[in-house]
Symmetry: C2
Subunit: 319 residues, 2 copies
């Protein structure tokens, strides 16, 4: 940890992961390893998706802007979205929670309530089956989710083919607008003002909700898989960055239509957890999806015919 | 988070969890929920164990006493032990890692190498299939493991019956001795001295190894299940505290023989990740297990005929 050594801050998330992957032990049960929304593990009689995410006070949420309930809700919803983005139905979560000893019990109870209500609304039947509670310097949630493919073939990022349609279910841009509103109006000298958050909720319920209590279209993920989606992911780091991930994994270009997307904000804002999917030209696009582009030859993301190289995404070490 | 509110430090881990469990969403796929080493989730064609654990800089390790390699090794080994303690063979891990941006990349690579070597030694074929990397104020690892029951009935904490034998595989007490040595000789004014750690490794390899790079008897867990073990867990919080958990879950007393255990230190020290199992009287106790007591009527833990109420265990908020 000496000052002259290369840091993970220097490298950023992607390059650090690229350094780590070759070092990790391989599982003989791996059907799909790191790099997609979920890993897929071979089990007797089938395969299960497995995904894990960290939500850390500071980079991922600010207490006072988010309540405990919001934090639990969002941690639950985002992991459900990763399972849905493979075409599976979420079935179970395990939750690790670290918090300072001085944390109010009601705060932790409210995190649990947020999990409860998000699971009930977004993925009825899915629940928290285990976890771990520990002491930490800040509040940190580590959520792992699994699910049931129930007969569908897992939909990865790698199957998009030239000529396929690109479609999205769920909203885009709201989470970014909500974040901007919170940072501009509810953070005074770095201190959160919960009363200002209440006012923003009242004035901009859709955008604040998209940021603090997202409602990813979980059922749309499975519907897309049943409709024959060739590639899918949830938009957690911004449409451009995530579309580029599909393009790279599939060896194609993703050609997007800005008018269909609606705004530049929707193109570059992150965290909406919309389902981004590619469909064969003759597939029946499921309800809830709207077509926003087409898979083309080439690489990267093209918007209205021009390469779009703005980074437009979220790196926990860069931002 | 106001100062007058009840804190999770006031309540401790167990009581906080008791407050949270009723609040969490239930999974319709739960075969076994919170409270054992793993949850068990129904999947098409079978059931899978799922366990998660946090390891946090400060409460769980001190960088400079532990290397990155040690931290990865221990995080891997302890999660493998939870899977083994259900009678399953570990198959896959997902790993969430949070670290400050200033963390050296080599440190993170060494964590990965520790995972690699621990999995290779302790559970060949099991590997890391996914994960998440994020920024945090300290180094935090969140590991989730799954496995394969491969035809055996999961062994929970609740099946011990009066007259069954209590046996343990693996060492007891070494992790506590190793920790005491490290805290006494390698921590100067709260600052770790890596050179002193090297000297301790040379002088006390078994005890320092038990603390920094534990080698839980993973294969013994499955062997116990195949031999008909009626209850099992890995000893992660001290033999007395963990034996009491089996006693409580099974509605019996656990009567231990101090001479067979070897020392008071082995009785109360934690973190050795030995396998503690109960067997029917006519079962063939598998190699590696030694009998240390018997299941009796009553409640709690009895040592040499007298109730043993010393807490003898680890609570992340109390210690």
């Amino acid at each position: 940890m000496s000052g002259s050594a290369e840091t993970i801050g220097d490298l950023g998330e992607g390059a650090t992961l690229a350094r780590i992957f070759p070092l990790l032990p391989e599982s003989s049960r791996t059907i799909l390893g790191p790099g997609d929304d979920c890993a897929i593990v071979d089990v007797p009689g089938g395969r299960v998706p497995l995904t894990t995410d960290l939500m850390i006070e500071g980079p991922d949420f600010i207490i006072g802007l988010s309540t405990g309930y919001d934090i639990g809700w969002k941690a639950c919803a985002t992991n459900l979205a990763d399972i849905a983005a493979m075409g599976a139905t979420p079935t179970a979560l395990v939750v690790g929670l670290a918090a300072p000893s001085t944390t109010a019990v009601t705060f932790v109870e409210n995190i649990a309530r947020g999990f409860h209500d998000a699971a009930k609304l977004l993925a009825p039947g899915c629940g928290v089956v285990g976890g771990d509670l520990s002491r930490g310097p800040v509040v940190m949630l580590a959520v792992t989710a699994t699910g049931d493919f129930d007969g569908v073939t897992p939909v990865t990022r790698a199957g998009a083919q030239i000529g396929h349609l690109v479609a999205v279910a769920g909203q885009l841009g709201g989470a970014k607008r909500g974040l901007d509103l919170l940072l501009e109006h509810a953070l005074v000298d770095g201190q959160p003002n919960p009363a200002a958050v209440d006012e923003l909720w009242a004035a901009h319920p859709a955008d604040i909700g998209a940021q603090l209590r997202p409602e990813p279209p979980i059922a749309a993920g499975r519907a897309a898989a049943l409709a024959g989606a060739s590639a899918m992911m949830d938009v957690s780091d911004g449409l451009v960055l995530d579309a580029r991930r599909i393009a790279t994994a599939s060896g194609v270009a993703i050609d997007l239509d800005l008018a269909a997307i609606g705004s530049l904000e929707a193109l570059t804002g992150g965290e909406d957890h919309a389902m981004l999917a590619c469909f064969p030209p003759l597939a029946t696009i499921p309800p809830g999806f709207r077509v926003i582009g087409r898979v083309a030859s080439g690489e990267g993301v093209v918007v209205d015919g021009a390469p779009f190289d703005a980074r437009g995404g979220w790196d926990p070490f860069a931002d």
